[in-house]
Symmetry: C2
């Protein structure tokens, strides 16, 4: 056991030999348990019925000064942590845009952690840097980006969006990094054009960068998409008020609806107006793997920067995000600093290979490994098929909703996301507020039942149910089970009295 092996005797720490035994012994048990988990996950409730107040207290314990046997702790992990997790691998999981990860990617993450290469600095990841460069190269190829393009893996879409806007800032306001608001950079006149459906991390990036909400200029939507005509008007209006466009933010697969902005039309405007185009493709850029789905992203190849989360539709575990720029110089200039203890110029090389000069992170996880391994084992076409399967299920669900007299789709789906409402026949004439409230309660009680798990959002001012079909194991049978589950739940809620039942947190399903 590790605790015995690592004890300090006669000034020596015998960690290495023992560490192998520990990993071997506990690793074998863990692999078998993880495999059993996948074998049987469909028999579990999808998530826990317990409320935060029920669960958070479970972990309140004094900081242990002494250890406990590893097998006891690990057994406890499966009971206390795993059982009441949300089970993304369950085919009835249709929740947020987090993927059930591919098994080889899960295993690759263990190797990533064992090697602990820090990919910010070449000498701390001599091969890891090469693997990341290759993965980024494949992404650039899929994007049809030019040879001078580049990119880096980041912790996720939020970091990617922030990085893209930092690159845009320096390209538009040269010297902004160095001089900031204390220079004559006119940063206070910056304007970022963004639709309402943009992910909150865009607004957050403006906050982080000290530009404030006023820097974000809301562009009207049409059918839940950024309206190119409104964008042109917004730009003209902003310019007339002395504002300086910093970037246009378009979305390739928006969070709420999964719909795609008209990237070609927006790229035309960006080019004619000479404004940086950032495309948030966190969700949708992975669809470039599919010859059928990539059509929906036409125009993205003309973006100046693209956010892309392989931990969404490439079925990778978190963390696996990426920022790609069409001209590497803009990524080089997005961050500028010196660190003599880290970034050494190497003899005979004109350009540093230290990725960390171009990311927010200094310690940087070797997330590229799992992508590199998975793409080689499965081949890209396999990813395309998995994606098409989930997108086809959204289309199938849309047809079912249209055919049903008690459901109403909020839009036709373009990806694997779909918003809709359940409107029980007897409730059709109820006021809007009651129908909104019903959707809320329906989601809550349905999710707490363990039968399935969906999300909700606000669309056009109305509360809607929302599914993201992240799991390739989800079939049409599961979609039927979803509708039946929602009907059953609504019947229980509306009942004979139509009164509100007690809240979900107090119910138990076990």
């Amino acid at each position: 056991m590790f605790q015995r092996g690592i004890q300090i005797e006669k000034g020596r720490v015998g960690v290495m030999g023992a560490a192998g035994d520990v990993l071997r012994e506990s690793g074998r048990v863990l692999v078998e348990r993880m495999a059993e988990y996948l074998d049987t996950v469909a028999e579990r409730p999808v998530s826990t019925p317990l409320a935060p107040s029920d669960l958070l207290g479970r972990f309140a314990e004094p900081l242990p000064r002494e250890g406990r046997p590893a097998e006891v702790v690990w057994a406890d992990v499966w009971e206390r942590v795993v059982d009441d997790s949300i089970h993304l691998a369950h085919p009835m999981y249709m929740g947020h845009q987090v993927a059930p990860p591919l098994p080889h990617a899960v295993l690759a993450d263990a190797l990533t952690s064992l090697l602990n290469q820090s990919t910010a600095v070449w000498e701390m990841a001599p091969t890891g840097t090469g693997v990341e460069q290759q993965v980024v190269g494949w992404m650039r190829e899929l994007l049809d980006f030019p040879p001078q393009s580049d990119g880096t893996l980041v912790s996720g879409g939020s970091a990617a969006n922030l990085t893209g806007l930092l690159a845009a800032r320096e390209a538009t306001f040269p010297g902004a990094w160095r001089d900031g608001v204390q220079g004559s950079s006119q940063l206070e006149r910056a304007a970022v054009f963004v639709a309402d459906h943009a992910h909150y991390s865009i607004e957050r990036a403006l906050g982080v960068m000290g530009l404030g909400h006023g820097a974000g200029i809301r562009v009207a939507e049409r059918d839940f998409r950024l309206d190119p005509a409104a964008l042109e008007r917004a730009i003209a209006d902003a310019r007339s008020r002395g504002r300086i466009p910093l970037a246009i933010v378009a979305t390739g697969g928006s969070t709420a609806t999964g719909l795609f902005d008209d990237l070609s039309a927006i790229a035309d405007i960006a080019r004619s107006e000479s404004i940086w185009l950032h495309v948030d493709g966190a969700h949708g850029a992975s669809f470039m793997a599919s010859d059928r789905l990539r059509e929906r992203l036409r125009g993205m190849e003309r973006a100046d920067s693209v956010s892309w989360d392989p931990h969404k539709m490439m079925f990778m575990p978190i963390s696996a995000g990426a920022i790609l720029v069409r001209d590497r110089r803009h990524l080089d200039s997005a961050f500028q600093q010196t660190a003599p203890y880290l970034f050494h110029p190497r003899p005979g090389e004109s350009r540093s290979h230290d990725i960390g000069r171009r990311t927010l992170q200094c310690s940087k996880r070797f997330d590229a490994l799992k992508i590199w391994i998975s793409v080689q084992i499965h081949g890209l076409d396999h990813f395309a098929r998995l994606q098409e399967h989930t997108v086809d299920r959204a289309a199938a669900l849309f047809r079912k909703l249209q055919e049903a007299d008690d459901f109403e789709p909020a839009h036709a789906p373009e990806s694997n996301i779909l918003c809709f409402r359940h409107l029980p026949v007897a409730w059709r004439d109820r006021p809007t507020e009651e129908l909104d409230s019903l959707q809320n309660r329906l989601r809550e009680v349905y999710n707490a039942s363990g039968r399935g798990w969906i999300t909700a959002t606000v669309l056009g001012g109305r509360r809607v149910l929302r599914v993201t079909l992240m799991n390739p194991a989800t079939t049409d049978d599961h979609l039927e089970a979803l509708l039946q589950g929602l009907r059953d739940t609504a019947a229980g809620l509306t009942g004979s009295t139509g009164r509100e039942p007690s809240r979900a947190g107090g119910e138990s399903r076990r």
Copy 2:
């Protein structure tokens, strides 16, 4: 095999059953290989002799549309990626502040990836949120932080430092998040007091936040520590020029030397001047686990925010960073945004448990699990012993350097970091530039030899060698081997002619 199991037949994707088999089959092999790796790592060269140009081309391959057998790809990973990695688990690894991870933490990371809980949102990590809250609670306890303190795990020290400064910005300039430079926030007058030895991520944070380099006011050092008297003068001078102090940044274990700023004296100044105190304890805060070492951090308990990287001296794999604040309201206000699809108020709860409202990240890896598991299995005292062992080795190395007539320590060590120079007796009277150049070449050739691996930096204008003793397996024998290795290498470099040999990248050790 996975590829057969996951194929789409009759509209069904049989992913789940097959996924368990894939994980079981490939996982068993991987665990055995990882264990063998740990068993034999000390027999490997510590890192590769190959240069970036040699290695990066190795991975240049077309994007594969078709897959390959998993066992072939995995075997290739061990050959192409692992063999030429830098091996942190090798006891002669004494390089940057990245740890050889504890085996149970490596395994925990596999479970983290399998479950893929996204800890930004409670409902996507019902138990994961509780585990993170508990780990943060333990950290608050170790810091002696008050009950109203709080924190969150982040991707690493750079994100933690940025988050701490964002909290400081909002506390000092209320409304800065919302209004930014377009408001009347006076952000252009902001001043952050920082010593030269501060990590580059502080300067980077100022760049990201649009404050510019001018916002950073350099405070003089004394003996490689921030000089409190100079800090007082700098504050007075800045105020007299109309500047508004945003934060004082002190360091608990500086990157270059591992020395600790006088946090008590600095906390006194921060309090009397009413300025936010941010302590970058990325490296050193873990020493709070040790009754002996925590004395060096006295005063940190009075900081307003603390950065802390468990992926350094808690021997966790990347990513595992944390930001702690002494008043949770400042973390709540550091980020402000709406996202109706994510952050739902929950019935009956006054305060949201969604961690993502207080971090840069939206998808957020369940990094707390490995800390929680490792602390329970080993007990905190075990971490203290591992830390003390590495710190004691730095002290032992210091004594050896003092006793040797051809080595010169640059400072007395306070943690597990030590800078020094090798000055071969015959070279004593050489000009400074030649001695600087020797240190550079020495590190390069020694590292390329595979015998050991160290870093270098610039200290007081002079090039110095630098070790960070991150590996508890490193013993005094290994320290002797380090000195002998450097002597041998220098002898080869200075030789009878004293001329520079050909560059390291062209040499081979295999």
